[in-house]
Structures are given as C-alpha cells and as structure tokens.
C-alpha cells in the first residue's frame, strides 16, 4: 500500500508522505453502529494520535462463518509544510464461529513496540472469550459506562473485572473523563484554606441526575461514579443498608448512609425530571456541612453550556462563578484517554465504592 503511494502521484506528493505510528487503536464495534460517524471520529483521532487502527466489526447474531478484511489509509496535511502524515486502517468483519477466533487474525497486524488501546464500543461482554483475548493484547481498555444497558449489573461486572488482579486490566472510562470538570470544580472549593476544615464536616451530598434511557429505574452510572469518587477519596464507608427512599419536596430519590468515623453522611440521588440535552446527566451536586449551615454546589445550566459554582457559609456567600462547559465530542474524549497508559487508581477506587453503593441500593429495594 505504501509503495503504491510513493510510486503514484506527482513528485511533490511523493516527497511529502510521512507515515507516523504512535499507537495501535483496536476498535470493537457492531454492524448496527453508525459507521459513517465512526469513520469521521477515527479521522480526527488519527490527527492527534497517528497510528494503526484496527476495526473489528462483530456479527454476533449470525451462525454463518464470516471473516473478511480490508485495508485503507488515512492522511492529513501537516500545517504549512505540504507534507502528509499518514496512518493505516485495517477493518475486519467477523461472525459466526470465526468471531471468537478473530483475535488471532488481529494479533499479527499490531504494530510492534507501540501501545495497544482497545476501544470496546459496545455493551459489555466482559465474560466472553473474544473480549478476554482482545483485552490481553491491549495495554489499556477504553469503555464508556454511559452506554451500559443494565447499569447496576454492568457496573458490578466492571468492578469485578478491575478487581481481578490476574487480569491486570487498565481501564479508561469515557464517562469518567466527562466527570473531570465536575471533579475539578468540586475539588477547587477545598483549595481555599478557610473552607478546608469543612470538608471533614460534610454530612449530606445531593446529586441530581437524569435517568438513563435504557434503565429509567436505575441511577445514572455517571452520578454513581461521582458519588463513588467522593466516598473513596474522603474515606466514607458505605454502611450496609440504605436508610430508605427519601422524598424531598417533589423530588424523589434514593438515600444511602455513609460513615466517616463517628460522622454520618447522607448521600441522596435525586432524579431530575426536567427536559434538556442528552448529555446533561448530572444537573447539580451539593455538598453540605454542619446541618446545612455550609453548602458548596456545582450546577450545570439546563442547556448544558455552562457550569456555575457557589459556596455559602452561614449568611456569607462566596464568589460564585460561571464557566463555559465545553461539550467535548466523542473524538475529543477518546483522544484524551489515548494520552494515558498508566493505571488510574482513583477511578478504580471509585468503581469499587460504586459497586458497594449499587449493592446497598439493590438490597434496600428488595427489602420490604
């Protein structure tokens, strides 16, 4: 393919083609995914992370053996130089009994000595052999917990998978990446020395969220991850049972009881019924201390374009501020994850707490 490029075209294009390879990106997807959109996204990813892309389209619903592959390349002009930076893409379509062995067709196609990222662009099939084989080839697995169709089950499986030390999986979650702005703004309250002692006196956390479309009865994974992060970072233990379903004004939600030493913390998940753009999952997070005497909140505007922060201590209100919330494209989110290779211990600890929360909420639901 590359010799074809250097032989064809005029002299200027011959001189200008540079192959670049910083990583292998292995994409697992399904036939019903929007492939036009996926191609656009990979185009943009290649600009920031030039490398070899291997797309595995899995036909899970067919018994007919199928294994087909084709190769293409992707180039962009390097600003001002007239040079083209190129990477290649191999697409493999596999189905029937050959799906499970497709990994062996992929392994020899990986470029050696550069990291392998597996982007699992589907609902979790974490127990199946194909996932296991692909995951073993990968240095890091990128998932999106927002796409979980059974959030509680899937989060528990995710936690188990991460916890399984023998698999030593390093996981990136696009949904966790989307929480970075929230985490940064919540953390920034406690950079103010005067507020810092109040962090050890928090007694209530309220997270307002929109329900996942596929599972309206369950709490959105993003809201659970944020709660899991707070609990794990602040050493809040999940107490075995939830204190019950709480009603607060007209809003309904679940309340979990957490504990830090002698202090009890009520963690309330409140469903937000107002309409808004799809990507607004969390609408408000409020951390309260001293029985509501101090409140720290971050809220997203209904249109999703801005974040607003405010701290209130007694009758004093601190400086609030409004910041632009850049809605990152999926390509930008993925691109950011591809910059990291090491284990994300903070995420792993958050997921472990999420699993405890999910079990607690489930127990409470099944308890009459």
């Amino acid at each position: 393919m590359w010799s074809g490029v250097s032989e064809g075209g005029d002299a200027s294009s011959k001189a200008g083609v540079t192959r670049a390879c910083a990583l292998n990106l292995l994409v697992y997807t399904t036939p019903w995914d929007d492939h036009g959109r996926l191609e656009d996204l990979l185009e943009r990813i290649n600009e920031q992370h030039p490398g070899r892309t291997l797309v595995l389209v899995a036909y899970r619903d067919t018994a007919t053996p199928r294994l087909e592959g084709y190769v293409s390349m992707r180039c962009r002009l390097l600003g001002g130089t007239g040079k083209q930076i190129c990477g290649e893409q191999v697409t493999i379509e596999a189905g029937g009994p050959l799906l499970e062995t497709a990994a062996t067709a992929i392994a020899p196609l990986l470029v050696s000595d550069v990291p392998v990222y597996l982007w699992w662009k589907d609902i979790p099939h974490y127990e199946d052999k194909l996932f296991d084989r692909l995951a073993q080839m990968a240095d890091r697995i990128v998932i999106d917990s927002a796409a979980f169709d059974h959030p509680y089950d899937d989060l528990l499986r995710l936690s188990k998978m991460i916890d399984d030390k023998s698999r030593r999986m390093r996981v990136s979650d696009l949904n966790w990446g989307r929480l970075t702005s929230w985490r940064t703004l919540l953390a920034s309250f406690w950079d103010v020395p005067a507020y810092r002692p109040l962090l050890d006196e928090i007694d209530r956390v309220t997270i307002k969220y929109r329900s996942p479309q596929d599972a309206p009865e369950e709490i959105a994974p993003k809201a659970l991850l944020l709660a899991g992060w707070l609990a794990s970072r602040l050493g809040w233990e999940v107490v075995g049972t939830a204190v019950g379903k709480a009603t607060r004004g007209t809003e309904e939600g679940a309340v979990c009881e957490l504990r830090a030493g002698d202090r009890s913390i009520a963690l309330a998940f409140v469903r937000d019924e107002t309409a808004g753009p799809d990507d607004v999952i969390i609408s408000t997070v409020t951390l309260s201390a001293k029985n509501g005497a101090a409140n720290f909140s971050v809220a997203k505007r209904t249109d999703g374009s801005k974040l607003e922060t405010e701290a209130q201590i007694g009758s004093e209100r601190s400086v609030g501020r409004v910041l632009a919330y850049e809605i990152r494209t999926e390509a930008a989110q993925l691109s950011r994850e591809l910059a990291f290779l090491s284990r994300d211990a903070i995420y792993e600890a958050a997921v472990a707490r999420v699993a405890q929360l999910v079990e607690t909420i489930r127990n409470q639901k099944t308890t009459p």
């Binding site: 406690w190 005067a194 801005k306």
Partner: protein, 509 residues
C-alpha cells in the same frame, strides 16, 4: 492542608486564591499575553473562583473601561475570536483597574486599600502576585514603593511574589545593583525573573529528554560529543524598536538571557530531584564552569555582525543603519557568534558554538549535538563522502521536535552510505497545540514553582560571561567594518571561517 479531592485529577494542579496586580496594564504585553493567558487559565479551571486581577497604569480609566478593553483583547487573541457574555461577566467581576503612577507613594496606599477590599470581596486570602510589565528603569522604584507600602511582606500564611520582565539589567553592574535594590524589599524566594523561553514546551522537554531516557545521557559528554551548536535566528529585523536596540544589541537582547538558559540546560549535570532549587543549582554550576572570555579569546573565538540591506522571503529589506532610530554609523551588533567551553569533567575541550542574529534567513532556534566520527573507518573515503558525523538536533521553535541523523547503506549491489534522519515532531506525534509560554509561567508562579524562572546568581553569571565581550567590542568599535552580512543570509562570513578553522561547519537549520 492537603486536599484529598485533588489527587489524580489529571494534569491539573491546585492554585491558591490570589490577586494578580499588573503594573503597565495599558501596555501591549497585558493585552496580548497576560490577561488572555489568565482568562484561559480560569477557563481551564486551573485558577480558583477566589481570584482577582488589578490593572495598574497611568492612563485614566475606570474598572468598566478596563474590562471592556480586556474583553476586546481576550476575544482578539483567542482562537474563537469571541467570548461568551455570561462567562466573561463572571470573569470580569474579578477585574479591577487603578490609575497610578509608579513613583507616587500615595498610589501604593490606594493599591493596598484596593487589595484589602478584594481580599474581603473575593476571598483572595492576602496572596498577591505583582507583575512588573513596565520599562526596566521602573523595576527598582516599583519594588521599593511596594516595600514602603508594606505590600511585599506576606501576612500570616499568605504569599507575595513579584514577576520581573526582561531585560534584567543592561550590564553586570546594573544587574547587580538591581538585584541589590529589589533584595532590600524582597526575599529571593519571592522574586520570579521571567524568561519566556523557559515556558516553551521543547525547552522543558530538554530535561525529560536528557533525564528520562537511558540511552542519551551516557553519550552526553566529551567522550562522544565533538561539539554543540546552538542557533537562535530571527527572520525579523528590529521592527521599529531601533532606539531600544541601539542600547542593547543581540548579546544583551538574546544571548545573555534566552540562549544561556537553553545552554545551561544542555550542559548541566542531572539534578538530584526536580525541585526548583535543585534544578537551578545544577544550571548555575554548569555556567560557573563556563570559561571566562579574555580579549584574546573574544578576538579569536567570537564574531560580531550587523546586517546591511538584503531581502527576506523575497522582499527587499533595509540595512540596520537605515532603520528608524538607528545611528547611520551605528556599531551595534545584530549578529553574534560565541565559542564557549565548560572547564569541567563532562565537557573539557568540547566547544559550544552559539550564534544569534536578526534578519537571518528564517526564524529558528535549535540545539545540534554533533557526535564524534566512528573511531575506525571501515568504509572507503569515496563511500563515506556523503556522510557527516551523527547529529542530534533538538528544535525549539518552530516545528518543535527532535531529529537523530545517522548513516545507512543505500540499497543496491554497490556500497554507498548516506545520512538519513529519524524524526520526532510534536505536531505529528501529539497533534496538540502547545500551551502558550505565558500561561505555563504564570501558573507556575501562582503555584510557587520557580524552576522555570531565572535566579539571581544566574542573571549575574550571564552578565559576567558576556561583559568581556561587550567591553572588548565597545573598545574596538573601529575594527568592525559594518555592515558585514546581507539581510537574509546566515551572518558574516567570519562566522563560517571560524568554524572551518576548527574543522567544523555550521548546520543549515
């Protein structure tokens, strides 16, 4: 007290509440760089809500006028060319302006009052960063007045820092005097002498490249390196700043500060850790080992030049002496080449060739490490004809990256050997826009990290090294037959001849 929620928030550090006071707020730097950089830092959530900016200048202006002006600048110098109303309003609430004269004590009392008010209104906690973006002659007066008004002494648990722009002094004596003057009111740990070259990603990458890789450092010494070339070329001329340039010249303007900072990062020993003092200790240790210049050495190992009329990018440009504000018989150098040696174990006998100049063919800053030739030549002279010794080139600007040059056999029945380049380019491997140097440096100062700022000893050592050159050239003005290079060429022929005498050749960047 540690903030447990901070840990693990990727790439993002915590800055404490503070107020940034910009002296010279009606100037170009404030609108082009400083306020846009602070705005971006706020938008990237790298600065807290409890944050304020005070612009200070002689021009009469209200807070609102200043906000309107700054809004225009931020929009103009942002990629989107526009700012959101509500987001701007939220940022602008923390923008203040004070009409003040640097020499008037009463204005500092007003400033102190305003800062206290901002502490109350915005919870900035008494932390203050004074940015002196004014003419160098005002540095000492501003610091002295700040000291008299009690503004340089931090209150309990808070901090006060001062950023001083370049040039830091115009010779060794004035730099020492300035250090002495500002030390009367400030401790060295409060002083941040800015050199925006150090904010550049590639300069910072020098540390990573040298000390995070195992294969280069063992070669980084006199046993394997033949010589080092540092080129700092500008395509532009004096750009209407002829008056200033007449008092400066390229050694003062570029070499003594920017180039020496880069040079010290190339020559230094590995620091014990990345703390600011540890890194800066190693830099000054290296510069202390730099061999001093004597008149004989200046004559034999340095070259000065001044551009005459020529052309850049195909367009004719006037000579230096024809520029506005320049004397028709000026002997100010617009080009200089220095041969430096470090008399220590690592570098004994290895020349470091430095050149910097205006109106050279293109804007480029790079470090080229030339390795020694292979000890025994297996291949015949005709086969090796096209081969140069191995080179490692670190490109600082533009097109930032690293290139390693080595010899390979040309495919075919006959043995031919040729040089090839192995290239790394930031633009192709990361595809990200590199952060603006001022953003990084301002954030570092707010975070209290002075690694990328010049310490007192380094500024003085820089002057110590160049003074004999400047003195010798000042005393032998008649000897330079200026202009001696055409604008748009790589400097005077004498620079090439000096390299040839040493058996080397300038790389064409």
């Amino acid at each position: 007290m540690e903030n447990p929620l901070r840990q693990g928030i990727r790439l993002e550090q915590a800055a404490e509440p503070c107020t940034v006071v910009i002296f010279g707020a009606s100037g170009d730097l404030t609108k082009r760089k400083l306020v846009p950089a602070l705005y971006r830092l706020v938008q990237q959530r790298l600065l807290p809500a409890e944050f304020g900016i005070v612009g200070l200048a002689r021009t009469e202006m209200s807070d609102d006028d200043f906000r309107v002006k700054m809004r225009e600048s931020v929009a103009q110098f942002s990629e989107a060319k526009t700012v959101d109303d509500e987001v701007w309003q939220s940022f602008a609430q923390g923008l203040y302006y004070l009409t003040a004269d640097i020499g008037t004590a009463d204005d500092y009392r007003k400033l102190a009052g305003l800062l206290e008010r901002i502490d109350r209104e915005r919870g900035t906690g008494g932390n203050r960063l004074f940015y002196l973006s004014v003419a160098p002659r005002f540095y000492a007066a501003a610091v002295e007045q700040l000291g008299r008004a009690g503004l340089t002494k931090p209150k309990d648990g808070s901090w006060v820092r001062v950023i001083i722009e370049k040039p830091f002094g115009s010779d060794l004596e004035s730099a020492r005097l300035l250090n002495q003057q500002i030390h009367a009111s400030l401790d060295e740990s409060q002083i941040y002498r800015i050199d925006h070259y150090l904010g550049k990603e590639t300069v910072q990458n020098l540390l990573a490249f040298r000390f995070a890789n195992g294969i280069f450092e063992p070669l980084w010494n006199r046993h394997y390196i033949d010589h080092v070339q540092i080129t700092n070329a500008e395509a532009v001329g004096v750009e209407g700043r002829g008056g200033y340039y007449e008092t400066a010249g390229v050694v003062r303007d570029m070499i003594q500060n920017h180039v020496f900072q880069v040079l010290s990062l190339v020559a230094m020993e590995p620091p014990a850790h990345l703390g600011s003092e540890a890194v800066r200790d190693e830099k000054i240790k290296a510069m202390t080992a730099a061999r001093n210049f004597t008149p004989e050495r200046v004559k034999a190992e340095c070259v000065r030049g001044q551009y005459g009329p020529g052309s850049i990018d195909g367009k004719p440009v006037p000579g230096y002496r024809q520029e506005e504000g320049v004397a028709p018989d000026s002997t100010t150098e617009t080009f200089a080449m220095l041969t430096m040696y470090f008399d220590n174990w690592r570098w004994a006998g290895v020349p470091f060739y430095i050149r910097s100049g205006k109106h050279l063919p293109k804007r480029v800053t790079e470090i080229a490490i030339q390795f020694q030739t292979a000890p025994h030549q297996l291949f015949g002279a005709d086969v090796m004809e096209q081969v140069t010794p191995n080179q490692l080139i670190i490109r600082i600007q533009p097109d930032e990256g690293i290139t390693l040059r080595f010899a390979v056999k040309v495919p075919g029945q006959i043995t031919h050997i040729r040089d090839v380049n192995m290239d790394f380019r930031y633009g192709t491997s990361f595809g990200v826009q590199l952060a603006e140097a001022y953003e990084r440096l301002l954030l570092d100062c707010i975070l209290g990290d002075s690694t990328l700022y010049a310490r007192k000893d380094m500024t003085e050592r820089g002057w110590e090294i160049v003074m004999p050159i400047l003195d010798y050239w000042a005393g032998t003005k008649g000897e330079g037959s200026f202009p001696n290079y055409e604008a748009g060429t790589w400097g005077p022929q004498a620079a090439d001849e000096l390299m040839e005498r040493n058996g080397s050749r300038w790389r064409r960047p």
